[in-house]
């Protein structure tokens, strides 16, 4: 059954359905509904929701809960995610599966609360200190947001890495019909023999990101990067729309992806052969499919609510085989389909 649901609330409900039983967060617009939803609904399923004293505390509470073997979520918006970065680096180092939702707003600094995509670098290139990556999933509809939250818990557990949902204020605040996936039965959540459950009948478990011996630590990180390579091989997700005969492919993610879908439809109506390539996993970035596409598409127009961040990954993927112009907006301004279509028309003619 479809229900009309706000993006933030759909993501929160999806987390509960994914078996998330602890949530730690701190108020920041435009994602407060996640914290509020969890406060209202987690206790009913035997879970715990704590409004933490800071983002720093919240992410470290997640660290504890994940170490205890329980599925756990935190959410915030850009400035709050910056504060969480210390903890996120520790999660990556200690191999803890935590799902982090970033409902992006415009920055840098306090910026404003309007939708933006300026945290792409932070999300996909590490963000915190050290050699690590996050699985980064970018939903473009409320439906997809719910589904990707559930997937994020699954992937985080499977690979023992933190995973991030990179949404924005538009997606968090909008309501859209959504068909919520059914709850995951507890027995389908994989056991975690490494978790801190009390050293009963087994040697003690230690959750740590600490190793003073460079050679031993190198081996640990090599193991981590083996996992990352496996993720890069097996978990790349993207969507192509009308790319078959396209003379220009728009590359956009998240809410810009859905707006660009409208652009494609309008362009096609005008006889312009335009397609859309929408990365769903921002890390791992779908470089290979984009590279394949670049063998026959002459122009890739990247559209972002930023000064051009994903654009760098697009250019690395296309690697000079096609033109790679950029169109972006800053400060929380969202371009209209008309504006993007006008940009498209600089490169293709009907």
């Amino acid at each position: 059954m479809k229900v009309l649901m706000r993006g933030n609330e759909a993501m929160a409900e999806a987390a509960i359905r994914a078996g998330c039983r602890t949530y730690f967060g701190y108020p920041i617009t435009p994602q407060n509904e996640i914290l509020e939803y969890m406060a209202a609904h987690l206790p009913a399923v035997g879970g715990a929701c704590v409004q933490a004293e800071s983002e720093v505390a919240a992410i470290n509470m997640c660290y504890g809960a994940a170490a205890a073997g329980v599925r756990t979520l935190t959410s915030s918006s850009s400035p709050g995610i910056s504060l969480k970065m210390e903890g996120i680096s520790y999660l990556a180092g200690a191999r803890l599966p935590v799902v982090i939702i970033n409902v992006m707003r415009a920055g840098p600094g306090l910026g404003n609360i309007a939708p933006a995509q300026g945290d792409y670098f932070q999300a996909t290139k590490g963000g915190g200190h050290g050699d690590y990556r996050l699985i980064v999933l970018a939903p473009s509809t409320v439906q997809e947001a719910a589904e990707l939250v559930m997937l994020a818990f699954e992937l985080a557990d499977r690979y023992r890495v933190p995973a991030m949902i990179l949404a924005d204020g538009m997606l968090g605040q909008m309501m859209e019909p959504v068909e919520l996936p059914p709850p995951i039965p507890p027995e389908r959540i994989p056991p975690k023999p490494w978790a801190l459950t009390g050293a009963k009948g087994r040697p003690p478990n230690v959750v740590s990101s600490f190793d003073l011996d460079p050679h031993r630590f190198r081996e640990i990180l090599r193991g981590l990067w083996d996992v990352y390579r496996q993720i890069q091989r097996d978990e790349v997700r993207w969507e192509e729309y009308q790319t078959e005969d396209a003379e220009l492919v728009l590359v956009a993610y998240g809410t810009m992806g859905r707006i660009c879908r409208t652009v494609v439809r309008r362009a096609r109506r005008e006889g312009l052969r335009v397609g859309l390539f929408r990365p769903i996993t921002l890390w791992p970035f779908p470089s290979e499919p984009l590279r394949r596409l670049s063998a026959r598409v002459p122009v890739f127009l990247t559209v972002e609510l930023s000064a051009g961040q994903m654009w760098e990954d697009v250019r690395l993927s296309v690697d000079g085989r096609a033109q790679t112009p950029f169109y972006g907006e800053l400060g929380g301004v969202v371009p209209t389909p008309e504006e993007i279509l006008n940009e498209v028309k600089k490169y293709v003619r009907g």
């Binding site: 479809k2 009309l4 617009t29 435009p30 609360i113 509809t141 204020g169 538009m170 605040q173 909008m174 309501m175 859209e176 019909p177 809410t255 859905r258 707006i259 660009c260 879908r261 409208t262 652009v263 439809r265 969202v334 209209t336 389909p337 008309e338």
Partner: protein, 178 residues
């Protein structure tokens, strides 16, 4: 087909609710739909607005620069959003609160004394439903009953069934005036 409707007014006028009920009704009638509120630092007493997009294919942007329909429940909203309404569109404005008529030749201007009607019905907070009734008529996509059903769901969910009847009346009045 993709129609953008903007509801705008003071915080507390039921702007977000009116939009949500419209979106709910459209969804129940099989349309693609999005609802996007203005979200800002002000909680009460400021301005509020929301955008509903109703379409027959997946909605691209939930933000609408040129809405086909504007509901302006106060003067500032009319001034702010009135110029943005697409040519050929409709501006439904609250004649109870807006004294200076908004002049635009390329749109249909629909003055409705929303507060006066609601007060007459004994529930001044139902002014938003008067407006919504008018929107449904202008849209012409589904019967008023669809909105009444959605509203009863919404009010039921909020434990305010007693308000249902007066709100139905308000919807009817708005619908008949449009």
């Amino acid at each position: 087909m993709e129609i953008g409707v903007v509801f705008a007014g003071f915080g507390g006028q039921g702007i977000l609710l009116a939009g949500k009920v419209l979106a709910q009704a459209a969804m129940e009638r099989g349309f693609e739909v999005t609802w996007l509120p203005s979200y800002g630092p002000e909680m009460r007493g400021g301005t509020a607005n929301c955008t509903v997009v109703i379409a027959d294919e997946p909605v691209g942007s939930p933000i609408v620069d040129r809405p086909q329909i504007l509901v302006a429940m106060n003067g500032p909203s009319l001034e702010r959003f009135g110029p943005r309404v697409a040519p050929g569109g409709t501006i439904i404005f609250n004649a109870s609160l807006v004294s200076a008529p908004f002049a635009r030749a390329d749109v249909r201007l629909l003055p409705i004394p929303m507060n006066a009607i609601a007060q007459e019905l004994g529930e001044v907070r139902a002014a938003n439903m008067v407006a919504l009734g008018a929107v449904v008529k202008v849209l012409g996509l589904f019967p008023l009953e669809a909105v009444a059903e959605a509203l009863s769901k919404e009010l039921g969910a909020r434990g305010r069934e007693r308000l249902l009847e007066v709100n139905r009346q308000a919807l009817l009045r708005g619908f008949s005036l449009a």
